[in-house]
Amino acid sequence: MQFALVVYESPEAFAARNSNQIDSYTGAWQAYYQTLIEAGVYVGGAPLQAPETGTTVRLKDGKRRVQDGPFADTKERLGGFMILELASLDAALDWAARCPAASGGAVEVRPVAPEFKRRITG
């Protein structure tokens, strides 16, 4: 089954991305990504730009309400996501614990909803 690992990171972790050198956080991510690939569990995913770059859209009475900023502003900020193919929740929790963002940030594990996906994608 598939799990989403939703990654929340601290402002410091976002700031570390802008450094030109490979800092230890980025180095840890490189190793983590390689390990996911070699274990054959990686399905997809992407890091996201910082929350300030977000724009939120709602439709109210047929009119667009466009708001500058992310949907939810929290201390730990949505930094990216990964979809992994794994046998169980326990395996997903193991991978979440190894994620470099798990210390300093947080990683939420959510099962993908395959039934609903089938109904949408037909």
């Binding site: 230890s24 180095g27 190793a31 990504y33 390689q34 190894r98």
Partner: protein, 410 residues
């Protein structure tokens, strides 16, 4: 009552609860087989202690007071349920209420039976440790869940489910028969060791999971030794845990940096804990029955020798690992063996041992990759080493270990 005295009373209640909880729960549920009800009754008793003791003073025998209160709560609970036909264990319990002054009554220590129930083959092995931590040491589901990396709600549900199974499936509260004892005792030892959570304590890293339960595990080990002092493996397990615990301070630098065993400053090792570990190991040796935990403790004992001699006898460690592999050929044992051979006979020899392990078995086993990286680096195979380092870093959970490996790779 003054604030100070009240605080003192609260501390007394905490201490009694800590020391007596397991004994009281074990005694109550050995009669009813109903762990959950016994726990509820005891927490009611503790709540009433919190209101009564500060007012009337701490009773002469606090444990007996709690037992009486818990027993009454349990009987109330059963009456309250209005069950038409009281169940047989209940009747046993009601009948067994002591006729003489309950405050002076000694009651038998049933914790060993409770430990055997917690690690019973009919119970999911994954639940052995959580069940022990809760019933014998009164840890709450949230703390246990945290250590086992699952949600508190899930841990709570699983604990409720196994307690119901104990009550309804006819698992007996008894010491196993002689012929069953070794196997049943193994399950108890395994569960305590799982709480300790350090499967591998060498250059590779420390398993983060469960580490904050180390002191609880040692407590359980001491309880078990008190209950069953003649089993060498019980001594062996306690010696092993004490040896590892002795190095706790030395494992991290002042900045939180991870320090592998071979680079630890032995001045920071606790000589008191090492001496105690050695006593238990010596006691075990007199039985002449070797076992897995004694061998693991013996390996740690060789490491501890460095505090006196200034060097590590890797050949002796490798020899103990060879014996250990015959009893318990786990990935941890085989990886440890390879690391010891690498130190004793050189990195090429160590790598040859590592190559004997099927690579499919170790795809997510972090210590294997850490040792492999270390050996390849020593052999000057830089690019192979970098790949192994990446794997070890990617699989590491402990941020300090991850940083250590990142520095080594560079």
């Amino acid at each position: 009552m003054s604030e100070n005295a009240q605080e003192g009373t609260h501390r007394t209640i905490e201490r009694v609860a800590r020391e007596s909880y397991g004994r009281l729960v074990a005694y109550l549920c050995a009669q009813t087989r109903d762990v959950a009800s016994a726990e509820d009754a005891l927490s009611n008793a503790l709540i009433s202690a919190l209101t009564t003791w500060p007012r009337d003073g701490v009773p002469h025998n606090p444990e007996a007071w709690l037992l009486t209160a818990a027993r009454h709560s349990l009987i109330d609970h059963i009456r309250h349920q209005q069950v038409a036909v009281a169940s047989e264990p209940t009747l046993v319990l009601l009948r067994s209420e002591p006729k003489d002054d309950p405050l002076s009554t000694e009651f038998p220590d049933e914790r060993l039976k409770l430990l055997f129930v917690c690690a019973h083959p009919a119970i999911d092995p994954a639940m052995h440790t959580p069940l022990m931590l809760q019933t014998v040491l009164a840890l709450d589901a949230e703390r246990i869940a945290h250590a086992f990396l699952i949600s508190p709600a899930t841990m709570g549900q699983r604990l409720v489910r196994v307690k119901t199974k104990i009550r309804d499936s006819g698992i007996q509260f008894e010491i196993p028969q002689e012929r069953e004892l070794p196997e049943r005792l193994d399950a108890v030892l395994e569960a305590i060791y799982a709480a300790f959570g350090i499967g591998w304590d060498d250059m590779a890293g420390v398993d983060q999971r469960g580490r904050d339960l180390a002191e609880e595990a040692i407590w359980l080990g001491r309880v078990l030794l008190e209950l069953i002092p003649t089993e060498p493996e019980v001594c062996g397990l306690l010696a092993l845990m004490l040896h590892c615990e002795a190095r706790r301070r030395a494992r991290r630098g002042e900045d939180g940096r991870y320090i592998p065993l071979s680079e630890q400053d032995s001045q920071f090792w606790s000589m008191t804990l090492i001496a105690e570990a050695e006593r238990h190991l010596a006691a075990a040796a007199t039985s002449g029955r070797m076992g897995r935990f004694q061998l693991e403790a013996a390996i740690q004992s060789v490491h501890a020798e460095r505090a006196r001699s200034g060097r590590t006898e890797w050949a002796a460690i490798a020899l103990f690992y060879e014996q250990l592999i015959r009893i318990s050929p786990t990935l941890g044992t085989r990886t440890g063996h390879a690391a010891a051979i690498g130190e004793a006979n050189g990195p090429a020899a160590g790598l040859a041992v590592l190559d004997g392990i099927d690579v499919n078995d170790v795809s997510t086993y972090q210590p294997y990759w850490a040792v492999r990286a270390h050996l390849l680096q020593q052999l000057g195979r830089t690019s192979d080493a970098a790949q192994a380092f990446d794997r070890a870093i990617g699989l590491a959970e402990d941020p300090a270990v991850r940083q250590f490996l990142l520095r080594r790779r560079a």
